[in-house]
Amino acid sequence: MEVRIEPCYPEIDAHESRVIEDLKSSSTQPIAEPSGWLDEEINRNILVTTVDKLLNWGRKTSLWTETSFTACCTFEFISTSSSRFDIARFGMEVLRSSPRHSDLIVTAGTLTWKMAPQIKRVYDQMAEPKWVIAMGACGISGGIFADSYSVVPGYNRILPVDVYIPGCPPRPEALLAGIEKLRKKIEQSSISNKS
């Protein structure tokens, strides 16, 4: 029984570890969530509100999710999209695997430092406007694994998170409530100020 020797790519590995180390050292503090929508009431006018209404309606009604799920919460997300809870009612059943097509990252699961550059890259590749939902305790703070040597304590170290959904894992109802929160938030955003 001859087993062929696995190929080995030391240069790629070295490069990737450099990326991981860089990201690890540069993300010691949580990124604040994009909060420009809070004080935008001032610079509103009639024209922009009407356009805003249309755009925001379109954006909130068609949130396409990127399939970049990491761990346990994935199954609650899939449950939510399956026949019983049917996320498709909100037009969200379009799971695009390409980040260019998607609007929303649902961070379902624990993030490790090895995975962090990939998730950040996916987020960077997504086209604006884009949103992030931190789903589950691990997504918020690292949860039960926060003390571990390899786990990122919360997605907000590397991504600006819009909505946090607590739970380990959150129930589908909780996820739907979180999505509803995000839709409300989108409703209140405006094209006239860049968040």
């Binding site: 087993v3 590995d13 570890s17």
Partner: protein, 149 residues
């Protein structure tokens, strides 16, 4: 019922190939040193009546005085099992021969032990970190690594 192999059967099979000082018994497990590991594995894998063809798991424990690598073998044919332990007293530069050429199933487990304990497996086909990235400082499952950040 998976039965533990008795000392007599093991002694009977091993005495022709391995000197009896190279291994000892310790509560149902065979304990040996790194020098005669591969030889013992070869014998146990092919000896008639034993034929331990299935390597269930490989793991390591960091005891205060030595590293212990624990192998658990089954025989699918005879439905019996054997625990084999290898002790490695050198805590600075522990090394143990690899049994990946014999059992392909040991491949990733040995890499895992290398990654998390820093025990190097001599003549392993690809001894690189498996879970953590290259250049990660330290070996987390060692007792001196510390828990938590």
């Amino acid at each position: 019922m998976t039965i533990k192999l008795s000392r007599e059967i093991i002694n009977h099979s091993l005495h022709e190939h391995v000197s009896s000082t190279d291994y000892s018994f310790e509560s149902e497990a065979v304990v040996t040193d790194s020098a005669s590991l591969v030889k013992i594995c070869e014998v146990l894998k092919s000896a008639p009546g034993i034929e331990l063809d299935y390597l269930s798991s490989v793991t390591a424990v960091d005891y205060p005085d030595y590293f212990e690598v624990v192998y658990l073998f089954y025989s699918i044919k005879h439905n019996h099992s054997l625990t084999l332990k290898v002790r490695c007293p050198d805590k600075q530069q522990p090394d143990i021969p690899s049994i990946t050429p014999l059992y392909n199933g040991a491949n990733y487990q040995e890499r895992e032990i290398y990654d998390l304990f820093g025990i190097s497996f001599v003549s392993h086909p690809k001894l690189r970190r498996i879970f953590l990235w290259e250049g990660y400082p330290g070996h987390p499952l060692r007792k001196d690594y510390g828990i938590g950040s």
